[in-house]
Symmetry: C2
Subunit: 436 residues, 2 copies
């Protein structure tokens, strides 16, 4: 994508003396025909007088791109110099030695050639920046929102069980293996809605590996690199029983909890039951926030100790992790759900007076997830993929018989790897300049 930008450079420096120096350099330069000097001068004066009123220094370079005045801090520009001394192009990494880095550096001269801005700093160092690159990093709310949603992470959309058939997209196994578009489409839907179904998977235990390899690699846990969900008598995990499996997330006792759960249905039960239960606990969290603020506070502020103690393949484990049921980030947005009746530990790491109110809030959370859950049954050949730290999942009781033993192969993949693959695919498919 190539764009013609209309550019105006406005340099704001730390003192009037410096400003006049820069203005004189701008006026005398042959390289800046597109710069409207008078306009720039007027704007500088306006900025400067307002600065004097505020009795503080504006440490930004103002650049007009497509008619919009965009400010870029001097220190940020210097720190992100893209020249070969300051930036390693193969490692795509900053190589500036910060020992002597001057955070108060100011530009002495600024030029542009329509696509590139060149800044000469007071110590003589020269930095170049692509206009697309700068525009993509603009410090405006719309710019930051655009970058965030197009590159960082797509915005999630929550749902209720009665909307499940509409939001659960279906994807073909072979298309995902063969096509970047299909792979992107699956991962994008999975990141937005927290669930997506892959169909027509070959009938073998290794089939899921090919899907994982399109992303990167599995997330290993103490249950192994992959796991088999099948009825086991002396089990270290209640998921390996055939009775009702109440809705939960997997492995809440991991601080670094596996991000996505992939369950390949090799054999589905012919008996009654064996249905999947799925609930978007982010939806439930929103609902509780709006309708039960006191319970929301208890579920977001009361730490619970999640627990798993046992032996798998001869290796003992004793996992504990403390976190609320609804975890919030520093902006108050839900970032992870922890929920599991069997794997909620018996130690309650909070004050006595919180216990009864917390249990009331926990029961509300449990009931609302059941109220808003979806219920369906996968078929042999399906891989159900879902966000393990957002959705609760469960299963009805079922009965195996000699000729029909329900069997799933499971694998986890972390969101770090999925978002990484999504960004690589976006770069490849969109061909947008300025991303890096």
């Amino acid at each position: 994508m190539s764009t013609n930008f209309y550019l105006t450079l406005v340099v704001i420096t730390q003192s009037e003396k410096a400003i006049m120096f820069v203005l004189n350099r701008i006026k005398s330069s042959q390289n800046i025909l597109k710069i409207l000097t008078n306009s720039a001068k007027r704007q500088i004066e306006v900025h400067n007088s307002s600065l004097l009123l505020k009795k503080q220094v504006d440490n930004n370079l103002t650049i007009k791109i497509c008619g919009e005045s965009l400010k870029f801090p001097h220190v940020w520009l210097r720190d992100n110099c893209q020249c070969e001394h300051c930036f390693h192009s193969t490692a795509k990494s900053r190589t500036i030695d910060w020992t002597n880095f001057n955070i108060n550096i100011v530009p002495q001269n600024v030029t542009e050639d329509g696509k590139t801005i060149e800044v000469t700093w007071e110590d003589g160092h020269k930095s170049k920046y692509g206009v697309d690159w700068l525009k993509f990093r603009r410090f405006t709310p719309d710019g930051q929102k655009n970058y965030t949603e197009s590159i960082y992470k797509s915005k999630k959309e929550t749902w209720r069980g009665d909307q499940f058939q509409d939001i659960c997209s279906k994807h073909d196994y072979n298309e995902i293996i063969q096509s970047d578009e299909a792979l992107h489409n699956w991962l994008e839907k999975l990141s937005i809605f927290g669930v997506a179904l892959i169909q027509n998977t070959p009938d073998n235990e290794a089939a899921i590996d090919k899907v994982v390899e399109k992303i990167g690699f599995t997330r290993r846990t103490h249950y192994g690199v992959k796991f088999v969900v099948q009825h086991v008598v002396n089990t270290s995990n209640v998921a390996y029983l055939s009775n009702n499996l109440q809705m939960h997330i997997d492995l809440p006792y991991y601080e670094y909890c596996p991000g996505v759960n992939m369950l390949h249905c090799l054999v589905q039960t012919q008996s009654k039951g064996g249905e999947n239960l799925l609930s978007d606990a982010y939806y439930v969290a929103e609902y509780i926030k709006q309708n039960h603020p006191k319970e929301y506070q208890l579920l977001t502020e009361t730490e619970i100790e999640w627990s798993d103690i046992g032996v798998e393949d001869g290796n003992e484990f004793f996992k504990l992790h403390r976190a609320p049921v609804i975890c919030l980030d520093m902006h108050g947005e839900v970032t992870r759900i922890n929920f599991s009746i069997p794997q909620r530990g018996s130690f309650f790491p909070g004050p006595l007076e919180n216990v009864q109110p917390w249990y009331k809030a926990h029961k509300l959370f449990y009931d609302l997830n059941h109220k808003f859950m979806a219920r369906f049954k996968t078929n042999a050949g399906d891989i159900l993929t879902f966000d393990n730290i957002r959705l609760l999942h469960g299963r009805n009781a079922y009965e195996d018989n000699n000729s029909n033993v329900r069997k799933l192969i499971g694998a986890y993949v972390d969101w770090d790897e999925i978002y990484s693959r999504l960004r690589c695919l976006k770069v490849k498919l969109k061909n947008q300049s300025g991303i890096y």
Copy 2:
């Protein structure tokens, strides 16, 4: 460990009627010879009158263990019933169906036999609890502190570079492989101080695997299951160059950042340089909190975008993660450090006015980590193990020659696995009852 407890049971229920019912049951029981009925009755009356004053219900069972009155909430006791219907002993998991769980349930009768408390609930269900088990889960500040530090996680101790020789414990490779005590000692020191040195490691690339297997397994990243640190010309990572490597944490662009870094020195450089630099950034965080509160706020509240873009073994990656330099948990305790000059992304996800102040705080953090760092040089046969999300590490420039090519083998292990192994070892070595 076996202890004789002096026990008094005091039952506080929701109404005077229920209390009298329980009192009558207590009085008539043949199994409660050790219960001082008059004392219990008096205490119940005291509790009850204070409850009436507060106009609220006390939903706790009070049990006197070794002279200390300990309160346990009814709902918590019912939820943590240890009987075979409510708790799966192999999976060590709760199996209660919460669909019909009554959060307001009250006990009808309570008995004890010196080691066990038996509660009969109003619906007739009977629950048993070990006294050790209850005491270990008591809801008092000292009880919670004791459980937390003896089982959950040991308390960290911070240090300055001039204290490094005292706090950096040394461990023998073979002892760690052969002895539970040695393994426990190494991991405990590593968790408390964030650094420990393993010596006398055999001179082969697989030697580190045996250490990892004593814990569990490595944490795989897009750089592989293990990694080689050696000078590489066209690198995807500046760590694979031989010039100065500024202090950093590894992989801050991972939301789930590898917890512990293990670097086995196979060949050390004979040239000048190649020294390790290590700083306890938790100490620096404390120092900034006390001496530079404004900068502390900026470093804990300003999200930065950490970044790694490249290709490794033919696989593209594009990792981004947003988090402050100093990450705090919900109690305001430091929980993770993010820092890396090369892997700090060029997109700044905050408002313009934060940029210049944040850079000033960032420079302070950089300078203080250098001020308080330790400097030393590992030898061939050393495995330097350190907390990757707490310590900054770096390296001086060095020079390879044909007969001396510096070479390290690295592996990551997550704290989830390390704390899990530590708890298993504590259970084994301490032989303390009531843990589970």
